[in-house]
Amino acid sequence: MSDYIYSYRESGSSKNITFIVTKDCQLACKYCYLVGKNAKERLPWEVAKKAIDYVLNHEQDFQEESVVWDFIGGEPFLEIDLIDKICDYIKTEMFRLNHHWFNSFRFNFSTNGINYDSQKVQEFIKKNRQHLSIGITIDGTREKHDLNRIWKTKDGFSPKPEEEKGSYNDVVRNIPLWQEQFPGTGTKVTISSADIKYIKESVLHLYSLGIHEVNINVVFEDVWEEGDDKKFEEQLIQLADAIIDGEFYTDYTCSFFSENLGKPLDKKLQNQNWCGAGRMLAVDAAGNFYPCTRFAQYSLRDKKAWIIGNVHDGIDKNKLRPFLTLDRCTQSKQECIDCEVAEGCAWCQGENYDAAESPTVFERSTAICKMHKARVRANNYYWNKLYRKLELEGIAREEADKHVKKSNFQEPC
């Protein structure tokens, strides 16, 4: 087959290549979408090396200007020795091959933060500081965080309710060190049904910990109960009041509030897919390639893994064609296409696949519909209130940008 997929070097573009280094984690978070976590499947070095060799030796297929090498789990820092070896190999190989990604790369981690201050992790940070980004997940107040982010049992199972132990203390102690080493880095907060009522105090709590950017989203899975949208809207309006009245907007952001939200979308001009699945590449312990980690078996409840190749045979480009031809309208129901507040309504291609009636990525899940509409109403309130306040303070709308810190966050998948 000809090299028809990535035929030109895309200016400013970036490739995400994800190593699923382990399917193990110290925690058993209640909202975790990873249904197949286990302590057995660790990425063997030989598989990681083959994956790197494949990617770097097929430069013509990976023409993006830069690369982000992602490491996820489970909890990636459980495999810090392996990660260190992988990163060393990537660097030396990119140099040896005079690869266009040399000096245009980053290693990226999303961690639960528990091992962050360990000697090995700290040594790794010191060694790779110039090409490193690390996000620690902390969900907010102790109460909110410990509601979901609990330790698993010694046997590796989810604990009984009476034995649940939260991880807040084990994470929050590392926040100052993390913020010192990566100043300005945001945290990612996930909201499910049970923790809607903690949203306002959690965001403010994270601000008080010195985290200036709170990236927050509701889970895409169909977990929402009747009335959740109302509670969600109320929380967001309280949060809007707190941010505006406390003048946090000058130096802090919360991704729930965005000016580019809640407008109709043009069927032709705004028909692009939201999700980057298929433009990313993930590899697991078995050496299989996936269009994103959400298509690996441990992420899927009801569907088979969507394997697009492996480290031995390479990528089967035919299996990427659906992702690269997927657009917003083709996968959306008519009510979504006609929706008057469609802008900013996100989806996860993996969740769409998992929830679809048949094995397809062309069927958009609408589980968050009411939650999005609630967010839009609260968002409208936020901006109307903020601009009026600034106006009364003598700041014209066109000048407002100088006084308001804005989130650049894209809804996560």
């Binding site: 087959m1 000809s2 028809y4 035929s7 009636e357 397809t360």
Partner: protein
């Protein structure tokens, strides 16, 4: 909208399409299910097409089969093949010495290697038949070298067709003459205009989803209901042209858009593989040339226009759409 009901009379009923039937043991549809299927077809106003195995059916089936207007798709080695409306050759050797009939359509299922070797035999058969449909059974394995070879084969057949048309004959070869006559997509229609009733009494999107057995491809999702429940095609929108991003803009109107082959190669029923697209365009482009060449001999399909294009895979130009 459903228009056709394909009834597989036996597990070993012939394939008439890209897939190879993996079922080797005979299992007839029960008389009760056959009657119920016919009744369903009558009440839903569907055209019925029976798909036969190589062996004769028990006598008690005959009256039931004849109780409704229908078409018969039979393999060439069925003892009653002279009654067929569509005859399927599962091996090119079956064509040698075969007695062709006027008004019957013939399907040759053939792999690429045999196709390239038997191009002359096939060219000669065009002359003997009113309509010959050539179905390549391993399209997904085509490589760049095969594309080049196939181009040459199509050129040979095109020259043969031009000669026959110049002589006043009008034989049909699906790969080259279908596109000349089409002004919109005319694909297999599985899951949209036709549905299959299998010997297990269940409906399927197409026979391939019953008669093949790959774990990767086959999913309960491609069962489409039962005689008791009626037809329910899951994610039915995917079988419609407007839900196929590559195909809805494409003008290789004769392409089968085989949903089973799509599922096999890209994992999506609405997305064709690179190989399927290129093969369809390798056929489309000489169809255009053939139309022009035939017109040199006289008036022919005067309203038809096939544009010149510079790509073989619509995927390569998707950004321009």
């Amino acid at each position: 909208m459903l228009q056709y009901l394909m009834i597989l009379l036996d597990d070993t009923s012939t394939s008439y399409c890209h897939y190879n039937n993996k079922k080797s043991e005979s299992k007839l549809i029960s008389i009760e299910d056959l009657k119920a299927g016919i009744f369903f077809g009558m009440t839903e106003n569907l055209m019925i097409q029976y798909v036969y195995p190589s062996h004769a059916l028990p006598a008690e089936y005959e009256d039931v089969l004849e109780s409704i207007d229908h078409s018969k798709i039979m393999p060439a080695d069925n003892p009653n093949v002279d009654e067929a409306d569509v005859v399927v050759f599962n091996d090119w050797k079956q064509m040698e010495g075969f007695s062709y009939s006027e008004g019957v359509s013939y399907v040759l299922r053939i792999n690429k290697s045999d196709l390239f070797e038997q191009k002359v035999l096939i060219a000669d058969t065009i002359e003997k038949t009113t309509k010959l449909n050539v179905v390549i059974t391993d399209v997904e394995s085509f490589c760049d070298e095969d594309f080049d070879t196939y181009k040459g084969v199509l050129q040979l057949w095109s020259e043969k067709l031009e000669k026959l048309y110049a002589e006043g004959k009008s034989p049909l070869l699906n790969l080259l003459t279908d596109r000349m006559q089409l002004e919109e997509m005319n694909n297999c229609g599985a899951g949209e205009s036709n549905i299959t009733l299998a010997p297990d009494g269940k409906f399927y999107v197409c026979p391939a989803f019953y008669q093949t057995n790959s774990d990767t491809i086959i999913s309960p999702a491609f069962k489409a209901g039962s005689l008791e429940e009626g037809v329910h095609v899951k994610s039915s929108q995917l079988y419609k042209l407007d839900h196929a991003p590559l195909c809805r803009k494409c003008d290789a109107f004769h392409c089968r858009r085989c949903v089973w082959l799509n599922r096999k190669t890209t994992l999506e029923v609405n997305t064709p593989s690179h190989e399927q697209c290129v093969v369809a365009h390798l056929e489309r482009n000489p169809s255009r040339q053939l139309l022009e060449n035939i017109r040199k001999h006289g008036q022919f399909l005067t309203q038809q226009e096939i544009k010149e294009i510079d790509y073989l895979d619509p995927f390569d130009v998707k950004e321009e759409w």
